[in-house]
């Protein structure tokens, strides 16, 4: 399985993602420059965290038009696995590969700390090494993670099992206090209809080995590896539940 980590001007978690994949998980992984015209040869793409294009205009709004994104979109449409972390999630929203948008954190503060996430759907390629209701401890670091979508979209996401992670407390209870940014329904991560594209605000690459204080983030990568090794491929509208 060959992983590609896209590097935009202003990405700053690209090396962390590559480290987690190569060193912590022993994967074959390399960088993809934002000017690349093709993502051929890669089996999974990571859009890393950071501040692509200085977060100018809106987070992810300029990166979304980077040359590489055309091939990433095509890759996603064909069912390729795409994981957007933090700024990567924001880029996926701007690109329309995932629904909704990010608003400024309701606190108006940059939040940088560990949070707890509840696995809401363990049947996606990104969570199948987890069990439903598992609580993962993963850090966040963002200013615009306040997920917003209209009511119909939120309902559709929930009904179709596309809300994959929600902010919760250590016991796994989804509470107002556990919501670090004002996200609707405590949403921390969602996937597309087909289940091959996931966006999440927390940073699994920052906690993929116990030396870093938590190895919970590795569960996301391990799920994808397991999915790939089983020979499974996301099928069109397979339904997640």
């Amino acid at each position: 399985m060959k992983w590609g980590v896209v590097v935009f001007p202003g990405s700053n978690c690209d090396r962390d993602a590559l480290w987690a994949l190569r060193e912590a998980l022993g994967q074959d992984a390399g960088f993809i420059w934002h000017q690349a015209k093709s993502v051929e040869g890669f089996d999974a793409i990571v859009l890393p965290g950071g501040f692509s294009y200085g977060d100018y205009l809106r987070t992810g709004a300029i990166a979304r038009f980077s040359p590489v994104m055309e091939s990433v979109e095509e890759f996603a449409r064909r069912g390729g696995l795409v994981l957007g972390i933090c700024n990567g999630f924001q880029i996926l929203l701007e690109a329309g590969l995932l629904p909704g948008a990010m608003l400024r954190n309701d606190s108006l503060q940059f939040r940088c700390r560990y949070v707890h996430l509840r696995v809401e759907n363990e049947k996606t390629p990104f969570t199948l090494a987890c069990s439903k209701g598992d609580v993962l401890r993963i850090p966040i670091a963002h200013n615009e993670g306040n997920y917003y979508a209209d009511e119909a979209t939120i309902r559709r996401l929930i009904e179709n099992g596309r809300v994959v992670f929600r902010y919760c407390d250590a016991a796994g209870c989804v509470t107002l206090e556990a919501n670090p940014n004002g996200s609707m329904e405590n949403i921390a991560g969602i996937c597309n209809e087909r289940g091959n594209v996931l966006g999440m605000m927390p940073h699994p690459e920052r906690c993929s080995e116990s030396l870093l204080g938590s190895a919970d983030g590795a569960m996301v990568f391990k799920s994808l590896i397991k999915f790939w090794e089983r020979g499974e491929r996301p099928s069109r509208n397979a339904g997640l539940r």
């Binding site: 038009f65 929203l93 948008a101 608003l103 108006l108």
Partner: protein, 86 residues
Amino acid sequence: MFLACVRVMLKRSVLDPQGVTVMGALKSLGFDTVSDVRVGKYFQIAIDAPTPDEARPAVDEMCRKLLSNPVIEQYDFDIVAGGAGK
């Protein structure tokens, strides 16, 4: 040369935490009559076109494609004489 003056605002249905905070600051400065504040973005775009009307479609497309995010924002614009003529 014309100047497109584009305003992008969060939709009414979307809470604007920046606006709420600015309103709080205004009130604490004694501006008691303030009842709402919304913070938005303003763009001035110099654009070449024979007439303002002929500049409109391009400006509208800029707004839809890049300057605003239709999920959370709305926009409007005027086109006036001027721009960065040298």
